[in-house]
Symmetry: D2
Subunit: 139 residues, 4 copies
């Protein structure tokens, strides 16, 4: 999986002393943006070419809490690549230990908000991404 490091900031913590659960979706966003960049095209460029990845589903499993100033990594891969959709899988790790994992599913939209197939160049780029096989739905 593609790997990108970041730190838990004070503003990410809550009074339980852990990173707030909503932050993980932001960390997933960072993961897919940095994986795309590593594959050769930033998400900014994708949008500038008139395509958007609209999120249709997000799932997170929280195993162990993350704490302030922890050096974490978000690991990202493609779990499923459809004709007009893509599902990314993520793991949040700390020194190799998996703290959380999850997925986000997206459809491709044109500027008018209509679902479309991505251009061949983007489909080719995503087909070169690290792959993981999804857990059976519902697990």
């Amino acid at each position: 999986m593609h790997r990108y490091e970041f730190r838990v900031r004070y503003g990410d913590t809550d009074q339980m002393g852990f990173a707030y659960y909503g932050n993980y979706l932001r960390w997933f966003e960072i993961g897919r943006a940095e994986m795309l960049r590593a594959l050769g095209k930033s998400y900014r460029e994708v949008e500038e070419e008139g395509l958007r990845l609209a999120v249709v589903e997000a799932r997170v499993r929280y195993l162990e809490p993350a704490r302030y100033d922890d050096l974490l990594a978000v690991e990202t891969a493609v779990e499923e690549l459809g004709r007009a959709s893509v599902r990314f899988a993520y793991r949040i790790t700390r020194a190799g230990e998996v703290l959380a994992h999850g997925t986000t599913a997206h459809c491709f939209l044109d500027p008018a908000g209509k679902p479309v197939r991505p251009p061949a160049s983007l489909a080719a780029l995503l087909s070169r991404a690290p792959r993981v096989s999804g857990a059976p739905r519902g697990s």
Copy 2:
């Protein structure tokens, strides 16, 4: 389901012009906090009595985008009440239209972070909450 209204704020939007997808988990938090308050005990009181609801899973299905200044409602119910766990179900609606729905699963922890059964008073309170039957896992 228990219903609580709120507005989409400017800081909630992203450059797509929609509410950012991570905000929905915050809105779910607001929903369960306000449902507990309506049932007779705030989550602050739950924590002060030494119990915490640690989140173990979150899921969101995004159907239609929310926009700046939209007046939304978060509707909350209990989907499953276990001996040491609870699953809440949520809907985010705008003028009756469902924009998103999802669930969060939690376990009860004592101050040492050990899973415990909730005190009878909290279990009784949760058993009086609005109930929905969960979709088959994986849907």
Copy 3:
């Protein structure tokens, strides 16, 4: 001053057990949006008419911490109304006690991002807003 109530949410707290200091700027945004709405025009309508209030300065003085589930109010007024700019003043209060106060200064921009005078209708609306006199700059 115009008054609007809201609650401190779990995601607003940090591991010190207080509301994170960055949230106050969001609360100020809520204050000016709700004051405009009370005066007769939402900020969404202002933007739809092609005008934007771009922030040029923000200041916050933190006196007492806010805590989880506190019922706070943001009190908002106009401190200074220029030809192409406006400065709002805010107080964050809890049961009458002032926890923080501050200001934000904005200029009016047209859709091209050029500073402009606001239309007469908006200037008139702002001139009816509650007023406070600013502290001498630098206080």
Copy 4:
């Protein structure tokens, strides 16, 4: 000034297409945390030794907007070091251009929340930090 790079994320943007103004206080937090780490002690260690830096004031001047995926730097220095307080100065830059600047003022608190002088080791560390002279108050 101490310099630390980061990116503007999608969740940081608002529907104006710019980074939301509240994020700058988070970026300032990142700046002072990373400056402390570079000087030899993380803020996590400071807190573990029983000291907290409570914010008493924050100011931001916004000059130019930051956009999605911009690679920014937060530059941090000490502007004023008192006996029981410290004021940090910050600049947010993009490719050398200053987009925003500001300050935060803090007092040192013991675990009971009482203002205290910092231990000699921390005072010595802060005295080795990059220094800037503050603008006259009120500028």
